[in-house]
Structure formats: structure tokens, C-alpha cells
Symmetry: C2
Subunit: 349 residues, 2 copies
């Protein structure tokens, strides 16, 4: 299988290459990393310390998709929108990490642990979309709970890491945090001014991810409503979200309040979650998941971590959960590769 | 008015003295700072750069409450529990920042902007309680909205700053953040190990504040349920909270979903909030409140900041809000002094 990784020099692209290096896709042939012209010629296998054989980085303008089987796009929605259909027309399956096609009716929005049936036939346009990182961990935690009753309503508050803003976001959090620590006790609003997050994030919070519409709902909050509805096949699911950027390096967290169509028991929820694949569950004696620990090893980064599972004391039909996952791995690179694997193992491949 | 500040060397105590220095209480006489024996003799006016006349710090064991009019306790619940009644018996009004007495039926739990009537008579036991910091900002944002309809249900996720863990919490966040930055790229779980927050907080999240009970609800989450019920006089108010410590220096934030007993309009909510005292409201063109900015000046620290006011797209009876306040000022010191002022201005004083 010959593949291209578009956006290979970014934080998601790097995770893709590292996962490929650890054997995430069987039968791997050529690996073509693609990025901007400024990155052309870089030797990513050496930079990232991989034993995987990887071509030199190719500039997007020089990228030739012919003969490829798979192209994973992680270079932003404009590039996916422009180049995705071209690469699909050349014959490669496009797996897209951006928001470009997610809500298109004829594009499957795939979480392999939740709706693998969407890949039972080859996507009509040759493109499969990876959901938003916050959506993936949310639906992976919630889907198994449907054994207890149908989901009716979600109220979600997110705690999203700086790595969600890419390499620039990570660099900025480190640089501005250090600047604040060096001016001990500085609390002025100018410290840590940020380009990447719209407002200074270091040692603070930015309660808006993406622009907001006339109703005051941000782009990220719309994604958290529309995408779970599509993936879960529940167009009437009620979802109210608040998406907040927090000064965490990596790993998104979500405080989830979920209401079912019937009374549910927190112990039953734990049992059902424990039996589901790809989750790590924290019971009464197991502490709780935290972003740094969750992202500290490849094994842990590959799972969705669910803790603080408890009943709503005032509503027998509702539960509360705390869901954490590595937004670069579960939230993007690994899910993209799992979608590719689903395709490779399907009858139509 | 002769007063004592118990816990004067802590982060809340320091705010108390600074607020007194800026004239928060009229007719101030002696100011007696009290702390542990290790702090005895410290000159806090010099240390904090105050023009206020303040006695040398007195060790708790040497503290003589006789002749005092007011004692503000900010040294933890055990000290309040032991010493509060003694000081009240000596004739001083005790205003307690700890959780020691909050839920006692015969102790007023006071937010001057919300339930000043609780101070219309002298508290039976001579003690008035200041609510938990997270509670104060929550009820101050919600109370004015009752003009639109009665509150039925709250679903709250908190983003609580390190200063909520006192001086030690602040020092630890700074030290562990620096340690992580200095080991560039370190993401191991041991980095930033914490005593104060139970788990490492730097560049991560700790989703549990206070111990949790057999139902999995943490102490802080119980406070967020019980205290608003008592303050608002709504014993049946449904409240489901998730309390999370975030690597923010100072300033607590809350993502609030509130349901009313009738349909409500987000623009009406903005109007009502704008007319309420002690709030700063962020409308469509005003951005949103963030902890660093909120805590950057005394004027701003004295207000409760409410932004991102919006309708729940799936429920005409619900609104979402983002509420931020300085947990040391609004959340403790200033509210304590406002309670003292209420008392001083009352007919019974
Ligand atoms: N970060 C996350 O948590 C996350 C999660 C899910 C999905 N995603 C999605 O993944 C994509 C990449 O995100 P990221 O966080 O990895 O961003 P990033 O670290 O900023 O990396 C961006 C990548 O895109 C490339 N790129 C940017 N502009 C380009 C251009 N004009 N031509 C060619 N290549 C270009 C960059 O190449 P150069 O290095 O040469 O500039 C780099 O490889 C985005 O669509 C994002 O929405 C991200
Ligand atoms: N931080 C917040 O956001 C916040 C908000 C609302 C309410 N509160 C409440 O306010 C109180 C103080 O919190 P803080 O954050 O200011 O804590 P802090 O910074 O740790 O300060 C604790 C204070 O208590 C004194 N103290 C501790 N043990 C003592 C002892 N055995 N004898 C005499 N004094 C003793 C300390 O004196 P030394 O310096 O001599 O040790 C210091 O003055 C707590 O009850 C807390 O729950 C805090």
C-alpha cells in the first residue's frame, strides 16, 4: 500500500508517521510526506527518529498522487477542499482530518468503533472524513452506553489542549508560559498575548474556539452538535456545548452530562463501558484520567479514558462522565489510520 | 471598628488587608492579623506595601479576641470550627470564609447581592458564613435572571484556578510549570507531581476537588449543589456539577447551563444582567471574560464577569453562560467585607 501524508510536518502528521512506524498499517509500501514548499526536502524519518522508510518531504505543488492507494490529509480544510477531490480522482482513498467534508451527505463521517458500517462500501466520492477530535472521544465514550437506553440529550463542557492549535499553538503556550514565569507574579493582561488562540492562553482560559455565529454559538460548539448527530444516527439528539481552550499541552477533556430515554444506573454504565473496546475505565478506586498521564505513552494515547462516572443526583435518567483522550492520536492520526484499515480489510478494497 | 483577620498571611488574608487598605470598611480602628506561630511578628503592612496601620502578626495561640467588633476567618475550617464560636462569644461578629458552618440551619450563608435579608438581624450564633468561591460567582450571575423565570436546573462545569489551593497551590503551579518547560517536551506523568492538588496540575487538569463520596460526587460538587439551594431559597433546585482544577494562576470560571420554568430569551437575559449591580456583561461585540484579564485590576477583580450568554439551540427554556470571577476577591475577601459592611449598616449593629 503506497500512501501520502499531507501535512506530514504538523503535529497530526507527525503522529501519523509515528503510528505507521509502529506498524499501524499492514503491507505498507511507499510513504510520501507532503507539506509546504518551505519544508520540501526534509528527512522526517531522521528528524522523528523512525525506522520507517519515508520519502523526502514533497512540496504540495510538486505532489503527484498517481499510483497512490491512500492519502491522509492533515493540512487544514482549504487544502483538503482543493486537493482532496483531485487525489481521490487519481484513485487514492482520501481520509481527511479536516472539517472540509464532514457534514456532506455523501461523505461518510467515520469512527471505526462506532459506525464502521459507513465504510462497508467505497465512499462515493472516494473521501472519508475523520470527525473533529472533541467529537471522536465523545461518541466513543457514549456509544456503548446506548445498551442502557437511547441518548436524548448532551450537555458538554470541553477542556481543549494547546496542541489542538497545531505546532504554533504548542510553541506559543511554552513561550508565553515561560515569559509569565520569568516576570514572577505578573498578571497583566498583555502577558502571553497570543496569535494562535485569539487571546492569551498561558495560565488562563480562552472560552471560544472558532468564530461564533449570530446566536453566539462557536464553530467548535456547532461541530459538537452536528457531528455526533450524524455519526450516531440521531438527528434529534439535543446537544448544548461550551468549548474552551485550556493551558494544557496535549489531551482534550470533556465534562459530559448525558440524558437517556429511561432511568439508568451508574454501576451498569461502568459495566457496559468496561466491556467496550478501546476504552480505559476508571472506577471508584482508580482515580481519574488526566491529560498528561493519558498522553504519556503510546498505549494510553490510543485509548479513550472515561472516569468520574456517576449519577445525576437530581435525575434518574442522567449520568455524568469525564472523558479524556489524546487529541492528536485518538482525535486524529490513529482514527484516520483505523479508517484506512477498515477500508483495506473491506470486501470492496 | 476593631477587627482581626485570621489567616492574614494567606492568599485570602492578603486580599482582605489590601481591600481594607483601599477603604473597603468605613471607621476602621485596630487591625489585628493572626496566623500560625511561625508567622508571629511579621509586619504585613510593610510586606504588602500598605498604608493601612496593621499590628504585628499574632500567633493564633496568643490571640485575644476581647474588645474586637469583627473577625474575618480565612485559615481553614478546623480553625474556624474551634475558634469561631469563642471569638463570637467574646462579642465580635465572625465572618467565616471556610466551609465550617455554611450548611448549619442557624448560620446565614450570605451573598450581599443576592440574599442581604439574611443579615437583617444579628446572626443567632454571632457567625455569618461566606459561601464557597465557586458558589458566589454562580449565584451572583444567576440571581438577576430570576426576573425571567424561576431557576429549575443547573448543569455546571468549573475551571478552578491554582490560587484556590492557597499560597502553596500557587507556588506549586509555578515551580512545576517551570520544571516542565525546562525539560523541554517532557510529557512523563511524573513531571509536576503535586502535593496540593492531589495530582500534577501543571499543563494538565485535575478533575476532582475535595474527596468524593460513595456516589462519586466530590466535596466541591456537593457545595455547588447545597449552597446555591440555601442562598437562593430553592431547596428543590436540581444541580449537577463537575469541579475541575485547571493550571490557571487566579480566577475561577464556570460553564453554566441553566433551565428555567418557562421559555427565556438570550437578549432578555443580557438586558437583565446588564441592569444588575456588580456584574460586567460581555455581549456579542465584547469578546468574553478570561481569568487573567478578570484578575488584572482591583476594579475588575471586584466584579462577576458574564459572557457567552446564549440560547440552548435545543431547548427554549435553557440558557448557557460563561462566568468568571477573582476567587480570592469576589470569591472570598471582598464578599466577607461586604457582609461585614451589611452588618455595620444594619439597625442591629
Ligand atoms: N491538532 C489537533 O488536535 C487536530 C485534531 C484533529 C484534526 N486536526 C486537523 O489536522 C490538520 C492539521 O492540524 P495540525 O494541528 O497538525 O496543524 P500544524 O501542526 O499547524 O501542521 C499543519 C501542517 O499542514 C501543512 N501546511 C500548512 N499550510 C500548507 C500549505 N499551504 N501547503 C502545504 N502544506 C501546508 C504544514 O506544513 P509546513 O510545516 O510545511 O508548514 C504542516 O505539515 C488540520 O486540518 C486540523 O484541523 C488537528
Ligand atoms: N483560596 C481561595 O480561593 C479561597 C476562596 C474562598 C475561601 N477560601 C478559604 O479561605 C481559607 C484560607 O485559604 P487560603 O487560600 O488563603 O489559604 P493559604 O494561602 O494557605 O493561607 C492559610 C492561612 O491560614 C493560616 N493558618 C494555617 N494553619 C494555621 C494554624 N494552625 N494556626 C494559625 N493559622 C494557620 C496561615 O498562616 P501561616 O502563613 O502562618 O501558615 C495562612 O495565613 C480556607 O478556609 C479556604 O477554604 C479560600
Amino acid at each position: 500500500m503506497d500512501i501520502a501524508v499531507i501535512g506530514a510536518t504538523g503535529v497530526v502528521g507527525k503522529q501519523c508517521l509515528e503510528l505507521l512506524d509502529s506498524g499501524a498499517l499492514a503491507g505498507l509500501g511507499r510513504v510520501v510526506p507532503v507539506a509546504s514548499a518551505g519544508s520540501a526536502g526534509r528527512d522526517l524519518a531522521a528528524e522523528y527518529g523512525l525506522s520507517l522508510k519515508v520519502d523526502e518531504v514533497v512540496a504540495l505543488d510538486d505532489f503527484d498522487p498517481s499510483g497512490l492507494d491512500l492519502a491522509i490529509f492533515s493540512a487544514g480544510a482549504p487544502i483538503s477542499r482543493e486537493l482532496g477531490p483531485v487525489v481521490a480522482a487519481a484513485g487514492a482513498l482520501v481520509v481527511d482530518n479536516s472539517s472540509a467534508f464532514r457534514m456532506d451527505d455523501d461523505i461518510p463521517l467515520v469512527v471505526p468503533q462506532v459506525n464502521p458500517q459507513t465504510m462497508a462500501t467505497r465512499p462515493a466520492r472516494g473521501i472519508a472524513s475523520v470527525p473533529n477530535c472533541s467529537t471522536i472521544q465523545l461518541v466513543r465514550a457514549l456509544h456503548p452506553l446506548r445498551a442502557l437506553g437511547e441518548l436524548e440529550r448532551l450537555i458538554v463542557a470541553t477542556y481543549q489542549a494547546a496542541s489542538g492549535g497545531g505546532l504554533r499553538g504548542l510553541d506559543e503556550l511554552a513561550a508565553t508560559s515561560r515569559a509569565i514565569l520569568d516576570r514572577a507574579q505578573s498578571t497583566g493582561p498583555s502577558a502571553g498575548a497570543s496569535g494562535r488562540f485569539g487571546q492569551p492562553l498561558a495560565f488562563s482560559l480562552v472560552p471560544e474556539i472558532g468564530l461564533r455565529d449570530d446566536d453566539g454559538i462557536s464553530h467548535e460548539e456547532h461541530k459538537l452538535r452536528r457531528e455526533p448527530r450524524k455519526i450516531l444516527g440521531l438527528p434529534g439528539l439535543r446537544v448544548a456545548a461550551t468549548a474552551v481552550r485550556v493551558p494544557v499541552v496535549n489531551g482534550h477533556a470533556e465534562a459530559v452530562h448525558v440524558t437517556f430515554d429511561r432511568p439508568v444506573d451508574a454501576r451498569d454504565a461502568l459495566d457496559v463501558l468496561r466491556a467496550a473496546p478501546g476504552l480505559r475505565i476508571y472506577g471508584a478506586d482508580d482515580g481519574y484520567p488526566m491529560p498528561r498521564q493519558v498522553c504519556a505513552s503510546p498505549e494510553s494515547s490510543a485509548l479513550v479514558h472515561v472516569g468520574r462516572v456517576r449519577a445525576d443526583p437530581d435525575d434518574p435518567c442522567s449520568l455524568l462522565l469525564w472523558v479524556v483522550a489524546d487529541n492528536l492520536v485518538v482525535g486524529a492520526a490513529l482514527t484516520a489510520l483505523e479508517i484506512a484499515r477498515l477500508a483495506a480489510e473491506s470486501s470492496w478494497a
